[in-house]
Symmetry: D3
Subunit: 172 residues, 6 copies
């Protein structure tokens, strides 16, 4: 049995993420999706709460054969203990997936196998693109699984990201 | 569709917890198991990491019809924001389950429906009993699902809890 | 113009506190009441939130000639920076009032004048006594200003402290 | 009796803030002024400590008929629990005042009434303008109540903000 | 070249600690003394600041041939990341020394060599004994290196520990 | 006996820092080097851990006559308590050295003697220059003591800083 770990912020979970999961499914029997910056929400970069992102991921992957776990990972703001923190919050895993250079470096220094994919970069761009379309009224729905569009609408997510994009301070 | 929220520390997940889940399954379609004190581990009271507890819960409930989510909830050490914190980390829920008076009080002050059960008290006693048997070499296996016994053995959990029960300070 | 600083947890603000304020009023023109452990609430030792304690203090002192400020002081859990923390949160003060040996020691090491009073010890006992009477149904009302009794009743404070006294863990 | 809550950083409290308070005074009997980012100081954006800001607010409003409370609100860096945090630190309030889109969104999601005013935007601009004039030697005094100018001078505030504007790192 | 790591709270550094260092000196070329609970001070259990403990250690070991480093280690309150935290704060080391069961367990789970010694237990007892004698006016000086006695006297350490032993709360 | 305190981030310790230490050596008998942002690492601005920086400093100053202490100072993110925090972590000192305006301001407000030097500014520039050369493959070795170049190579520091310079988010 092989278990993988795939870290992302999933703000929101979009088609690029889903494609990555499908590709990783060829390698592993089970997959942990680590939801990074779990304690952040209501900002342009992190509009959705960890709980909302668990819903998006779970509903989008309901028909996948892969056994998946969606696990919130709060920020500790200390790169030097980040890998240990992830390991304590996640079911044990054999291999990590990321294209983020910092994440790759931290896993390598901890001697954990890390795999990259050309698809990851595209995925990063898509995250920003989805949020920009949400803010400016573009067609974001076509970039995400149907289940994600439903969650976003149910929670009033478009109003929320549009509001916070007008703001960058708490008070004053 | 009704979703419930059941908070516990699950140190470890034992038969009392499993019975509670079966009982709650009569009320709801989906159930979030909130893993309290998720950031604590390697103590007598909280021997297992959040990731290990996710494994115990998921493997123990694999044959349940209920859709379940196991979600780590880190301590913020502020009772006044605890309900908001739980709500941000968990998929949205309609009703909470607990017999813990503090938890009941906090949910009530937030106007969230909370249900109690006579079974809960027994469950609390069982958690302490399981850990005491682990420390002193008693029969803890009969108090937990088989899947939990396997996880505990795989991670060397008995040695760990016995070691930390000899210790109550870091250094000196 | 002389300004004093009087630190307490004020759980709740009781007659002993009010008497202390009246005594201090002979020494100073203005008084800051620093509300310690401001981030703690919903426990037996700290049942009331900082906001609730501000209400109790302000309403109890409304007829005092003294200019008073009620300022919440969150715990930093670091004694070595506690005085600086207090100084940053409070209007500037000339003299501090406490009978707590740790508080006295910390102010002395920072070369800030600190005054003690025999009344303080009685005050500490009264805080515990008030909370015990609240829990066990005794006459707590006679130990606090009328305004405090009103606040406690308005917020359902008796039910709260009785509930949390039955509990000593979050979940399980 | 109606109590309002008005959140700002008040760095420093200026004429725009005072005008807002006067306008809000038409709506409410009591007003809590929540001092945001209370734990921040000695930066260009937040030059003054919470204690210094309490002084500015209290002295500026001494002749107002309105009952006011100045309450420091420390940052928790978690938008999802921010409203609960504010509620625990503040006397209970019926309506909040802000023009900040994030604050509005957070109160709305918590079902708390929030009122906006065209004056708020002007107020934000004034805060930055006052600080820029302080740094570059312009006429900041005419933008703030006399009591604020006195506090700033008493604490050596101009030297402080000029020093920190030359700096953006601690050490090195 | 072999470097060891020896963790303790060193409250204060006493003869038992010095003997341990002398024994470890037979094994290693350099030794890091990790000062645990570095952020705690002014309590009965942790009376001295990290800076004061650095002084005690450095002055006591000035005549040792061993190259030593005294490194404060702040508590993160998360056992699962403790080893990574220690590794990030300390010069790289080959072997750790402790008799504390929790510390041994944490290093073992991280696959770091850990050595124990019968002397350690005696050392723990001595720490408590030294502090009790300080509080109750006994002969603590004979249990610590001369350099430590000098530091304690210079900083008024006896008065401090006697004061805090009378106190167990901040305020009230 | 005079002891000085010299605060920096030392990312890495370079020739400008070493020259400063040599100059300060004319004033003092002992020198504490406070390693700022000790909890930060694996970023472009703070590539090295506190432990790695202790190694760099200690090895670079091994032939200095001055008694030196390298002490990690974790960020508390509160300027108002920063001086107290430094004082608790460091052996007692008589004079501080810095050219950073914020640091100067904070020490001045705490009535601690602070000395500046024209050399400091050059030093700041050099820190950025060294890191840029590391990232872009320039000659960084000539800007640092030989001992620092050895530490950087031993820990794979060039690969690390090049990796993190490609990254500015954790995950996604």
């Amino acid at each position: 049995m092989t278990r993988g770990f795939y870290i992302g912020r999933f703000q929101p979970f979009h088609n690029g993420h889903r494609n990555m999961v499908e590709q990783i499914a060829n390698d592993v029997d089970e997959l942990v999706l680590g939801i990074g910056s779990a304690d952040d929400s209501h900002t342009v970069r992190n509009p959705f709460t960890a709980g909302e992102r668990i819903m998006m991921i779970t509903k989008s992957l309901v028909d996948t054969d892969l056994v998946t776990y969606a696990v919130p990972i709060e920020d500790l703001e200390r790169n030097s203990v980040w890998v240990s923190h992830v390991q304590s919050m996640s079911p044990d895993f054999d291999v990590a997936y990321s294209n983020n250079p910092l994440v790759i470096q931290l896993f390598r220094e901890a001697n954990i196998e890390i795999r990259q994919s050309p698809m990851f970069n595209r995925e990063v761009l898509e995250g920003t693109e989805v949020r920009q379309r949400m803010i400016h009224g573009g067609d974001w729905q076509s970039l995400v699984p149907d289940a994600v569009a439903e969650v976003v609408e149910e929670i009033g997510g478009i109003e929320r990201i549009q509001m916070v994009s007008d703001s960058d301070s708490n008070g004053e």
